[in-house]
């Protein structure tokens, strides 16, 4: 646990000093909103359509973060150093997933209000608590699966290609659940509705299963 915290702090400090990943993710998200605005030729969107736009945008931006996740470790010998240290291998999974989760949260702190401003008609405030719950669970799924996929992809020759290609199908059920849960929230017909419990349960179950699965197999991706 302490090792994971040390690693996480290292990653966050690295990100704060270089500003390599999160600003790029935010920029990509903003540009994607503009693309959707012109692509759909709409000033405002709502309901399931809005949920789809939001999920697709966050997913694209998340993929940037996923691709960058292990690049520093690989290029600057972080893996070797970590393997030499007498620590639990799973700490790496925990630290990287937590780091990715924080990156995603930071992305959403900017991207979701921007989404409300650019594309939603009514105020974002009423559905916000429900949306935060849905996005937190979705971020967890992206963080866990993203870390796993990134760790697989980093040692392949075509790593920027393999990551998304494996990651997207694995994430699809979580994305379906996220979009379906967020859709009613963004419909604005009834005030501040709670997200459908069924989808929150599916997301939570998905998070749990993949967290356990990742924990079980992650050691094999580091051993060398």
């Amino acid at each position: 646990m302490r090792t994971a915290l040390v690693l996480l702090r290292k990653d966050l400090r690295l990100e704060l000093r270089t500003l390599e990943t999160v600003p790029a993710m935010v920029l990509l998200a903003l540009v994607t909103f503009i693309v959707f605005h012109f692509g759909l030729d709409r000033d405002t969107i709502a309901g399931q359509e809005a949920a789809g736009v939001l999920v697709a945008t966050l997913l694209f931006a998340a993929m940037l973060g996923v691709n960058r996740l292990f690049v520093a470790e690989r290029e600057q010998g972080g893996f070797d150093a970590f393997l030499l240290a007498p620590v639990d291998r799973s700490a790496m999974l925990l630290a990287k997933a937590a780091g990715l989760f924080i990156f995603l949260a930071a992305l959403e702190v900017v991207a979701v209000p921007a989404f409300g401003l650019f594309l939603l008609g009514p105020s974002l405030a009423p559905p916000l608590p429900g949306l935060i719950a849905v996005l937190a669970l979705a971020d967890l799924a992206i963080a866990v699966i993203g870390t796993l996929v990134s760790a697989i992809a980093i040692h392949t020759r075509a790593r920027d290609l393999i990551g998304p290609v494996i990651g997207l199908p694995l994430l699809l059920p979580a994305l379906i659940a996220t979009a379906r849960a967020a859709g009613p929230l963004l419909r604005f017909t009834h005030a501040a509705g709670a997200p459908p419990g069924k989808w929150l349960a599916v997301l939570a179950l998905y998070d749990l299963v993949f967290a356990l699965l990742a924990y079980a197999v992650f050691d094999f991706l580091l051993e060398d």
Binding site: H155, R157, V165, L172, P173, A216, L221
Partner: protein, 246 residues
């Protein structure tokens, strides 16, 4: 490679003949025994190929994941080979299921593809996921690492198969005839019997092909090893980069 040699050729002839017999019986039953569907007519008979293909391919994916667990536990490359062959055959069966499903959908619903049908959609997602298995293998050069990473992928993807079906099925209403429900999907007895024989036939076909490919791959690596022993390293062309375990 361990010194114990495994032969996958044992019983292969018997299995092949049995498979042929069962598949011939299944086809005979499909065309001469099973009644015509009152609703869809003759085209419904594609069901006896389509559904078994889909079921066998999904089970094959899960089987590949289980074999991969064997590899990670033992480090024996033969487990990886089993997993590889299972996944790659399942992918072929899976594409067969998608194509036959599309034909059936066109004939009975009027469209080649129907989004409102969760079984189709989840099956497509699974096939897309497993389409990345070979590119993943191919892009890792070190054979040992290739086996290890491919096994991790196979386990995760194998566990993904049932989860994915739950998630997608929840998202939509049912259109498809539910054949595999607990109540037996209210198929009349003669159709059910034909379906079961077809299912067994396709499963046996999968097993036979799996054994054939394992035997071939195994024999090839044994020949290679013998040549190296007898003629020395220089006599062998260096192994090219490959997605297949060797």
């Amino acid at each position: 490679m361990p010194s114990r040699s495994t032969t996958y050729g044992t019983g292969l002839r018997g299995l092949s003949i049995a498979t042929l017999v069962v598949i011939a019986a299944a086809l005979t039953m499909v065309f001469y025994y099973a009644p015509l569907d009152a609703d869809q007519g003759f085209i419904q008979k594609i069901f006896y190929i389509h559904v078994p293909l889909a079921i066998v391919s999904l089970l094959g994916f899960v089987f590949g994941g289980l074999m991969a667990v064997g590899y990670l536990l033992t480090g024996d490359r033969r487990w990886d080979m089993r997993s590889y062959v299972a996944i790659h055959l399942s992918l072929i069966f899976g594409i067969g299921a998608l194509v036959t499903g599309s034909i059936w959908a066109k004939a009975s619903w009027g469209h080649w593809w129907v989004w409102s049908e969760p079984t189709l959609v989840s099956f497509l997602i699974v096939v897309l996921l497993f389409c990345t298995y070979q590119p993943l293998r191919f892009s890792i050069e070190d054979p040992e690492r290739q086996s290890r990473y491919a096994s991790v992928f196979a386990i995760v993807a194998g566990a993904f198969v049932p989860l994915n079906f739950i998630a997608v099925r929840l998202a939509q209403q049912y259109v498809h005839p539910r054949v595999l429900t607990l109540t037996g999907g209210n198929l009349p007895g003669s159709m059910m019997l034909t379906f079961l024989v077809s299912l067994i036939g396709i499963a046996m076909l999968f097993a036979t092909l799996w054994k054939y490919e394992m035997a071939s791959k195994n024999a090839r690596s044994q020949v290679r090893r013998l040549r190296r022993t007898l003629l020395g390293d220089d006599a062998l062309a260096p192994a090219g980069r490959s997605a297949a375990p060797s």
